[in-house]
């Protein structure tokens, strides 16, 4: 192997230990020197590239995943259920004592919380048009593991909200009929009973499952929601 080829190979891969390369090192003191220098330089390069990793990174990765993991399905033996029930009960006491938002609402469903939230929030939202961009919407949505390819219509408001004590995504859209439709993306960790449709005297809504969250939409009774639900799901990018 000539000197040029020797250098070219080592520069491309200083960890190369092929027979030809080792022979070339042995043959020439000049090659040996070049090899030693490059190994030293490689050490420096590696130290420079190995920037400090923030403390607690792996713990935060586990934590984030534990929130994203689907909640245990009722497929476990009875003692698991009993344990889960007592934990849920204890947490229920804790949450309802500590969190005024959920106090005194022990048997709410996913839809009830959505309706409640819409009634609470509507005085602040009615008439606004903040015209959030796709980027703004997706920046909020990312936390729930979703993203829109395109906005599914006219969006007038977007924010995180408190959904039964847990963060959720809340977006308000202005429908073609001119009424407001509330869209929630609720992480599956919010474990509330749900049905695919719900309503009260003024509003109605629908629930649909996403990969790690529930999509909940609420609109006025006169507002047809089927098509919009379909459109929203169509724009959500759930692929890897």
């Amino acid at each position: 192997m000539d000197e040029l080829e020797f250098r070219r190979q080592l520069y491309a891969n200083p960890r190369d230990r092929s027979d030809a390369l080792l022979a070339a090192i042995k043959d020439s003191p000049k090659n040996q020197k070049f090899y030693d220098e490059l190994q030293q330089f490689e050490g420096k390069l590696q130290r420079a590239m190995e920037v400090d990793v923030p403390d607690g990174l792996s713990e935060r990765l586990r934590l984030r995943q534990s929130f994203a993991a689907p909640p245990a399905k009722p497929k476990r033996p009875r003692w698991h259920m009993a344990l889960a029930a007592s934990v849920a009960f204890a947490m229920g006491i804790g949450v309802s004592t500590l969190n005024p938002f959920t106090a005194g609402q022990p048997s709410m469903s996913l839809g009830d919380v959505a309706l409640d939230h819409v009634y609470h929030a509507s005085p602040y939202i009615t008439g606004t048009d903040e015209r959030p961009s796709l980027q703004t919407v997706n920046a909020k949505l990312a936390r729930y593991g979703e993203a829109f390819e395109q906005l599914p219509g006219q969006v007038v408001f977007v924010n995180h909200c408190n959904y039964h004590g847990s963060p959720a995504f809340h977006m308000v859209m202005r429908s073609e009929q001119g009424s407001d439709v509330n869209v929630f993306v609720v992480p599956q960790t919010v474990d509330l009973p749900s049905s695919s449709a719900f309503s009260d005297s003024k509003m109605h809504g629908m629930v649909s499952q996403l990969s790690d969250a529930n999509l909940v939409i609420v609109g006025e009774k006169a507002e047809p929601l089927d098509g919009l639900l379909h459109k929203i799901k169509g724009q959500l990018n759930q692929s890897i």
């Binding site: 920037v51 990174l57 990765l61 497929k75 980027q135």
Partner: protein, 188 residues
């Protein structure tokens, strides 16, 4: 409530152990690769917070599609692929937030105490100055420990191109380093 309990016990236990295995695999991935992934992300975006966000998103996506990872030997390149895609998405989302090398130090200024640290910082700036097409294969080789073939596959290039870029990247760095050493000697 009654229906699930009437299912066969055997299938229940396999579902549970399936979940547990998935959890164990995920934790092993975090343990084995999160540090290297963070470093790689850091060099791609040169911002600690953004790097951590990208790594968080990467692992979240990995968790969701962990079942599609069949061969654990391919885990690292699988994660790198997700990370690169995640980083590209970040650029699609906001193209304006480019970092200017001149105003930007890649290390904490107050950490520059020893000669070693000064040298590290100097080298980091040189790495920063490499064009991305040279820098990325080098990062994959040095931080990721990938072979020429693996880098070629990750970057969708042919192996000869990768080896040429690795050669040029090191050649540039070494040249700059030697010039700097000479200058240091003249000044000293």
């Amino acid at each position: 409530m009654i229906l699930p309990f009437s299912r066969k016990k055997k299938s229940n236990s396999s579902v549970n152990s399936g979940m547990d295995t998935k959890q164990l695999r995920y934790e092993a991935l975090v343990q084995a690769f999160s540090r290297d992934l963070y470093r790689y992300a850091y060099w791609l975006c040169k911002d600690k917070q953004v790097a951590e966000d990208v790594v968080q998103e990467t692992f979240l996506r990995a968790w969701r599609s962990l079942d599609s990872l069949k061969d654990d030997k391919a885990a690292k390149s699988w994660l790198i692929t997700i990370l690169r895609r995640e980083n590209a998405r970040r650029f699609e989302r906001k193209q304006f937030d480019l970092v200017d090398i001149e105003d930007h130090s890649v290390a904490d200024q107050d950490a520059l105490s020893s000669e070693q640290e000064i040298e590290n910082e100097w080298l980091r700036r040189q790495i920063d100055k490499l064009s991305p097409e040279y820098r990325e294969p080098l990062l994959l080789q040095v931080i990721g420990g990938f072979s020429g073939e693996e880098i070629a596959e990750l970057l969708e290039l042919n192996k000869n191109t990768v080896m040429t870029r690795l050669f040029r990247a090191r050649n540039q760095l070494k040249d700059a380093f030697e010039k700097d050493e000479q200058r240091g000697q003249c000044n000293g």
